[in-house]
Each structure stands twice: as structure tokens, then as C-alpha cells.
């Protein structure tokens, strides 16, 4: 009887050097990162990875050596993470984010964002329409009013609208920073809680509108309505838009769970969730802009018409950037 030849052993002998080379690359990437590799090795990585993939699929059909099969499985899985992990490309990504991905993500979440805007406006209208000193005291939490109550004198209320003109630059910066970090985290929260089927997000949006409306009602009752809006809107346009973006992103993931459409529910959630995350990321930048306007501009510019002009300008800018732009659609 002649010597039995094992095809799987021959196969292994022919390919094993490639596997070991890939393994040493993967070991090194896992320990020190992709950038630690010399460029020649990086060029070899995809080829070695594909060779290992093909080895694994062949091995599955011809070999019964379990250690080798498990080894190849684990090698391919580890190399997979190295080859298909996140590729950070900072420069190009930022330009692409502003020119394409962010507006596209906003349009993807359009339904939720428009619903958020509607809820916020509804809250403002209801708050304004139902204003009375009793209602105001009921809905306004103590921390929020900061001395602005129906009992305050008209002079005090007016003073708040024009305070801060004597502050130094660095104090204004601190105020801006505080506003930005605080508001951005509220925005993140409004998004995350959208996962709870959107209900808390709806409440947050409507309630914040209600508070703003009630405050406007208080000022309007003293004949300071226009001046109040001139005080709120320059940063408010940007800030409220950012709130609506976050809330809308949250509502979009809720919608993806409730109404999956023609996709599977989980797949649809993942699709919407990734877009929504981009919207929230962009909204964080809007919060930063709003914080700067609120911290610096509002304190430095006390003139009512100028405040309105700036508010109008920000409104036009955001509408044009997010609403009217139609970049080429690219199907993934």
C-alpha cells in the first residue's frame, strides 16, 4: 500500500508562510496601531487578508484539522477588524461633513425635525396664548425664572434685556462656554431619549416651547414684547434650531422602530441611527455658534433693530444651508 497523501497537509504547507506573515502584521497593528507599520507592510495587508479569506473558505471544504480551521477563523476575524476598522481621515472628512453628509443627514431626518419644530412652535403659541400670572407660576420652575416673575417690576424686567454691557471679554467667553456645554448636553439627551419611543422627546420639546411662550407672554403684558424677541432671537434662531435637530433626530429613531417601512426593524433603526448621530453632531456645532452669539453679541449689542437684523440673517443662513441646498445624491 502506498503512502497516503493528505491534501490538507499539502495545502497547509503551501500557504502557512502567508498566514504567519499576516498574523505578525495583525499582532503589531493590535499592539501599536496601523501607523506603526512600514508602508510596504501596509501595502501587503489587503493582499494577505484576501489570501487568508480564500484559505479559510478552501480549508472549510477540504480540511478536518480543527486547530487549523479555528486558527484561520480567528486570524481572518482579527485581520477583518484591522482592514475594515474606522479609517480616520480628518481633513477630507470635515469638508465632506459640512458640504454633504450633514445636510444629507438633516434631510434624512426631515420628518422628525419638522415634527420637532411644530411641537416647539405649538408650545410657544400655547404658552403665549394662555399667559396669565397664575399659569406662569404653575409651569415655570423656580430655577428657570431667575427673578422674572409676574411680581417683578417692569423696570427690572427691562433691565435683564440690556444687562451685561459692562462685562469683560473673558467673562463673556466663560458665559458662552457654559451655555454651549450645557445646551449641547441637553441636546444629546433629547436625542438619546428618543429611543424611548419618542414620548419624552415630545414632552421636552413642547414643554420648552411652553416656557418660552409664557416668558414672552409676561414681557408682552408689560409692553416689552418686541424687545423680548429682539433679546431672544439672535441666538434663539440657532439654538432652537439645534434643539429641533436633536429632538428631530431622536424622533427619527423612534419612528424607525415604530414604522420600519420595507426594511427589517433593527436594520432600519441602524440606518436611521447613524444618520441621526450626524445630525446631532452638527447640532453640537450649532449650539457652539448659539453660545457665542448669546455670550458675546447679545451683551455687546443693545440696539433692537440690529438684534432683529442679526436674527433674520441667521434664519436666512440656516434655511439656505439646510433647506435649499440640493447636493448630488449619491447612493451608497
Amino acid at each position: 500500500m502506498e503512502e497516503v497523501r493528505l491534501r490538507s497537509s499539502d495545502f497547509r504547507r503551501e500557504r502557512v508562510t502567508q498566514w504567519v506573515e499576516l498574523e505578525s502584521l495583525v499582532d503589531r497593528i493590535e499592539k501599536k496601531g496601523l501607523s506603526s507599520l512600514p508602508s510596504r507592510s501596509i501595502q501587503r495587508l489587503p493582499a494577505l487578508y484576501r489570501a487568508a479569506v480564500s484559505s479559510l473558505s478552501v480549508a472549510r471544504s477540504i480540511s478536518l484539522d480543527r486547530n487549523m480551521l479555528e486558527y484561520l477563523e480567528s486570524l481572518v476575524a482579527r485581520a477583518f477588524v484591522c482592514v475594515y476598522g474606522v479609517k480616520p481621515r480628518t481633513g477630507g472628512t470635515i469638508r465632506e461633513f459640512f458640504s454633504r453628509s450633514f445636510p444629507a443627514a438633516v434631510r434624512h431626518c426631515g420628518a422628525g425635525i419638522i415634527a420637532s419644530l411644530g411641537l416647539l412652535l405649538a408650545g410657544i403659541v400655547v404658552g403665549l396664548a394662555t399667559y396669565s400670572p397664575v399659569n406662569y407660576d404653575t409651569i415655570m420652575p423656580d430655577g428657570m425664572s431667575q427673578g422674572r416673575t409676574p411680581l417683578s417690576s417692569t423696570e427690572d424686567l427691562r433691565e435683564i434685556l440690556y444687562s451685561g454691557s459692562g462685562s469683560s471679554d473673558s467673562e463673556l467667553g466663560l458665559f458662552s462656554t457654559f451655555l454651549f456645554t450645557h445646551n449641547a448636553q441637553i441636546g444629546f439627551f433629547a436625542f438619546a431619549i428618543g429611543f424611548a419611543l419618542g414620548l419624552p422627546t415630545i414632552i421636552i420639546l413642547f414643554y420648552n416651547g411652553l416656557l418660552l411662550g409664557a416668558m414672552a407672554g409676561l414681557y408682552a403684558s408689560r409692553g416689552l414684547g418686541a424687545e423680548f424677541w429682539a433679546w431672544v432671537l439672535p441666538h434663539g434662531v440657532t439654538e432652537l434650531l439645534a434643539v429641533c435637530l436633536c429632538g428631530g433626530a431622536g424622533l427619527q429613531i423612534a419612528l424607525a422602530i415604530v414604522r420600519p417601512g420595507r426594511h427589517r426593524r433593527l436594520d432600519n433603526l441602524a440606518r436611521s441611527g447613524r444618520q441621526a448621530a450626524l445630525v446631532v453632531l452638527g447640532a453640537a456645532l450649532l449650539f457652539l455658534a448659539a453660545g457665542l452669539i448669546e455670550g458675546y453679541f447679545r451683551q455687546l449689542v443693545q440696539d433692537v433693530p440690529t438684534r432683529f437684523i442679526v436674527a433674520g440673517a441667521t434664519f436666512l443662513f440656516w434655511t439656505a444651508y439646510l433647506g435649499l441646498r440640493r447636493p448630488r445624491e449619491r447612493r451608497p
Partner: protein, 296 residues
């Protein structure tokens, strides 16, 4: 070599090359430990920022100290919101804690892990971690003056989100669901020597096809496991003896196998058996299990 009997949850992804790849889903326990390690590191970072703050802003009013104040506030914001995202992007899906425990974040269906997926899964921590933390320590700030039953129901609702990884097959937390990601164990199996390569010393042992048709793939791989783990150890002789006797009995091997011949005999049998089964595999016949009874 990992014992085959340890039950792992296996998830199959398809690589862009079209190859189905099995990955082991990370255990909730190791994920919790990884999270604790990361939280600890974050906490150290925040404490350092606090120390800096105390050192640099002694008088609190000068313009320089306010600038430091601004910078440190931004640093805190970045640590709280960016720690996980930063490492998952720049360390290929692993934070320091995950790396320590050998865990990795991957896209659920295979394919590249995108930056936006990383942001999506980490933004959800506001719901899964910061909100429960706030409810636990400052319930007033979240529920206000709500009645007791509302506080209770709200807490239970939030608890469901916290326990999400225990409620589904892939151990996905809310962030994983929203981002379409999952956390897997980084598998490490080293390549051992080819058992079939070594020819036994001395005379070659031959088996007939009938003898080799008694066993299937399962038994072959158990034999591989036994040989890899015990063949070198003198004290495991009795175990090898039992295995050897079972085989000789089943395939009706007439000659007795002396003690010192057991390992060469088993290796020769493994090699012949694997050759036979692989040959049949090529013909499209995959025999999983042994035949009943013994060869007569």
C-alpha cells in the same frame, strides 16, 4: 486550544468578500468590567482637570484664570462626550477597557465600522448611563414633584434600557441597536503543529477502508484534542490507554498495542482517519458521526 465545550454565543457576519465569519459575542460580564475600567480612567481624567482648576484659578477673577476656566470646561465636555468615541475611532473599535478585556466593536453585518456609527452608539450613553446615574443620585432634578407612582414607572422604564444587553441574543445595548454595531471577543487561536504531518517512527501502520469508515468527523476532532493535550504527558497514559482500547475494539484491531506504542498508533490512526474522511469530503460526503456497533 480552547475547550470546545465552553458555550459561546456565536454570531455570523458576512465580510465584504462574501465569506461568512463566526465571531463570539462578548459576555455582558466582561463588557461591564471594561466599562468600569473606562469609567475609572475618565474619572481620573476629570479629577486631574479638577486639580488643575484649583491650581490655576486661585483668585478666580483675573482674565488669565478665566481663560483657563474656559479651557478646562471644554476639556471636561470633551472627556465626557468624546472619550469612548475617540478611542473607538483611533484604536480600531476598542477603548482601553475593551482592549484590556480583549473586546472589539464591529459593524453588525460586517463591513467597515463608520465614524457615524461610533458616534451613534456613544451618544446613547446619555440614556443608558448618565440618566440612570442622575435618577439614582438626584431623582428630584429629573422627576421634580411627580407623584410616587410616576417616579416608579419612570425608573422601571429607564431600567429596561440599562438591562437591554441581557434582553437580546447579540447582547446589544441601546447604542449598539441604534448604530447597528456589536461588541465581540477578539478571538486568538495560535497555529499548532500539523498532527498529520509527523509520520510515526518505525514501521508504518495500515488500516483498511472498512476500519476507517467506522468513525466520523466528531470523533476525529476529539482524538485531535486528546492527542494535542495529553500525548506528551506520561501521567495521562491511562487515559490514552482507554481511548486506544476503545478504538481497537471498535475497528476489530487484532494485535495488542503495547504501552509505548500507544501514541504512535493513535497518531497513525488519526492520520489515516483524517485522510479517509477528507477524501470523502471532497466527494461531497460529510460523515459527522461514528457508526453504531463494532466491526466484525
Amino acid at each position: 486550544m480552547r475547550v470546545a465545550l465552553v458555550k459561546k454565543r456565536i454570531h455570523t457576519i458576512t465580510t465584504p468578500e462574501g465569506l461568512p465569519l463566526s465571531v463570539a459575542v462578548a459576555e455582558p460580564g466582561s463588557r461591564a468590567i471594561a466599562f468600569m475600567v473606562d469609567s475609572f480612567l475618565m474619572l481620573i481624567g476629570l479629577i486631574l482637570v479638577g486639580v488643575c482648576y484649583d491650581l490655576c484659578t486661585g483668585d478666580g477673577l483675573s482674565s488669565a484664570s478665566v481663560t483657563v476656566d474656559i479651557a478646562l470646561r471644554l476639556v471636561v465636555f470633551v472627556i465626557i462626550n468624546g472619550y469612548f468615541a475617540f478611542f473607538e475611532i483611533y484604536w480600531r473599535g476598542a477603548t482601553p477597557g475593551k482592549r484590556m478585556l480583549g473586546l472589539r466593536v464591529i459593524a453588525r453585518h460586517g463591513g467597515p465600522l463608520t465614524t457615524r456609527a461610533v458616534f451613534a452608539r456613544n451618544l446613547m450613553r446619555w440614556l443608558e448611563f448618565y440618566l440612570p446615574l442622575r435618577i439614582l443620585f438626584f431623582p428630584q432634578s429629573f422627576f421634580g414633584h411627580s407623584p410616587g407612582w410616576a417616579v416608579f414607572l419612570g425608573s422601571v422604564w429607564v431600567l429596561i434600557f440599562v438591562c437591554m444587553p441581557l434582553l437580546n441574543r447579540d447582547r446589544a445595548r441601546c447604542g449598539d441597536l441604534v448604530a447597528g454595531t456589536m461588541v465581540v471577543e477578539k478571538p486568538v487561536t495560535r497555529l499548532l503543529s500539523d498532527l498529520a504531518k509527523k509520520t510515526p517512527m518505525g514501521s508504518e501502520i495500515y488500516f483498511t477502508e472498512k476500519q476507517l469508515d467506522m468513525y466520523g468527523i466528531q470523533e476525529l476532532q476529539v482524538l485531535e484534542d486528546v492527542l494535542r493535550r495529553h500525548a506528551r504527558k506520561k501521567e495521562r497514559r491511562p487515559l490514552l490507554r482507554v481511548v486506544c482500547d476503545k478504538i481497537t475494539n471498535k475497528i476489530a484491531w487484532k494485535e495488542a498495542v503495547p504501552d509505548e506504542e500507544i501514541v504512535p498508533f493513535l497518531k497513525a490512526f488519526y492520520r489515516a482517519q483524517r485522510a479517509r474522511l477528507e477524501q470523502r469530503l471532497l466527494m461531497g460526503e460529510r460523515r459527522e458521526k461514528k457508526r453504531r456497533g463494532t466491526l466484525r
